[in-house]
Amino acid sequence: MLCDHCQERDAVVHLTRIVDNAVTQLHLCEKCAAAKGVETTVSLPQHPLGEILQAVQQQTPAPSAGDSGVCAFCGASARDFRATGRLGCAHCYDAMEGSLRELLRRLHGSSRHVGRRYEAPRPEAVAQADARSMLTDRLQRAVEAEQFELAAELRDQLRVLE
């Protein structure tokens, strides 16, 4: 089978996508897949924290409780974290809770905060940021990262607002 993109080389990556409830299949050669940012091999950590996280994940045979892999708020994945050493948003801590707990133990010797307790102010006391703009930003980020399921969900939320 030839690559759908260049029509020259053999397709080695077969990608199934769901966009607007329609299933599409894409067959790409290694070069075109890399150009489109599709991961073909396990990415090597580029950050020291990534190495520790990868070690933690390899030691954990089954996905840890609470580890869904991709953050539903910002779309960041464990792979993004390994590459940059930074989490995408506060919700990533829930999406990767199991692995992060182990990582925090290694980094700090503990995963439990014993310092000051905090209670966020009541919503009515906080000036509300523009919910529509916030959703638009999240939608654009999801599209750029080709996270189409998340994008569809955010688009639905935007429609409700409108």
């Binding site: 506060a90 006391a125 000036a127 916030m134 999240r138």
Partner: protein, 364 residues
Amino acid sequence: MRRASLDLSLLPDGGVRWLDASGPHADIVISTRLRLARNVVGYAFTGRARDGERLRMLAQVRDALAGIAALDGSVLVRLDDCSLLERQLLHERHLVSKELAGLDAQHPVRTGAAAILGEQAGVLINEEDHLRLQAMRSGFDVTSAFEAASRIEQALGDRVPFAYHREFGYLTACPTNVGTGLRASVLIHLPGLVLTKEIGKVLAGLQQMGLTYRGLYGEGSDVVGNFFQLSNQTTLGRTEEELQDLLVRVVRHVIEREEEARRVLVRDAGYIIEDKLWRAYGTLRYARSLSFDEAMNFLSGVRLGVGLKLIPALSVYTLNKLLIFAQSAHLSHTEGRVLSEGESNVARARYVRQVLATEGSGVE
């Protein structure tokens, strides 16, 4: 809060009151810095956020900060409006991090990058975390820096929701800052331990105690002129008070070790040391070209001479001032144009000569 494009004279005390050498142990500890990292609920962390998110977060925080008395008289600087030279100036004054100033090749200046610079404390906005509430003090003064940063943090936390997890504490972009988000550091001068070759043991001991060290400009910077930044390594699993206590105890011990090393140097190698320090002074007083590293190394010698009372007529304040104002961006700023490296070295030597001639008169 005034908005400044950048006129350093508008900053309270030029933003460098901590240079005045009025704090405890100021001959050995130049300054103490403490920061609390916080993120605001509802936005992706800075590195993943889009321009619009960063700008809305900035607007939300700016509005909330407007009513906080601890920031009366402060100035808001938008780094994304500043020229490269202006951003370098702020970085050289240790007012903003390299990342916020966009001086790192990997991190060009971000839309929405800003700093609120107040007399007692300030806030970095859209750094790696949305907010870094920070305070700097002259000498070794962790408590006062913590109180100042904490006052703003608590007032702001009542007005905007911070990202907080029941188990992990305050959430940060990098897991190394999570929990308290507290990093306290001292900029300390340790020539005695370097000359007696004790420094390796002391630094290894620090790391075992849960502290870490860096160079003059913090993370990723080289050690130059025997200046070290010591700070807590971990932020989780200990209270804010425990983290401060740890730093205070260990730094006190390091100060004692440094004082002991200086006594040994004077006792065992008195005239050799005295000669070395005066040669450093002589070079600074008469050289016609000085690189930054050279200037820092000679200043380290003179600073040791002042500490040992071998060079009596110079104040620690003068030496602190030279540390900041003999840097490249400051020299370019004074000359009114961007200087090449060679021009910078000549301008540096001229500036150092002038300062020592006027503020070091009587040195002989």
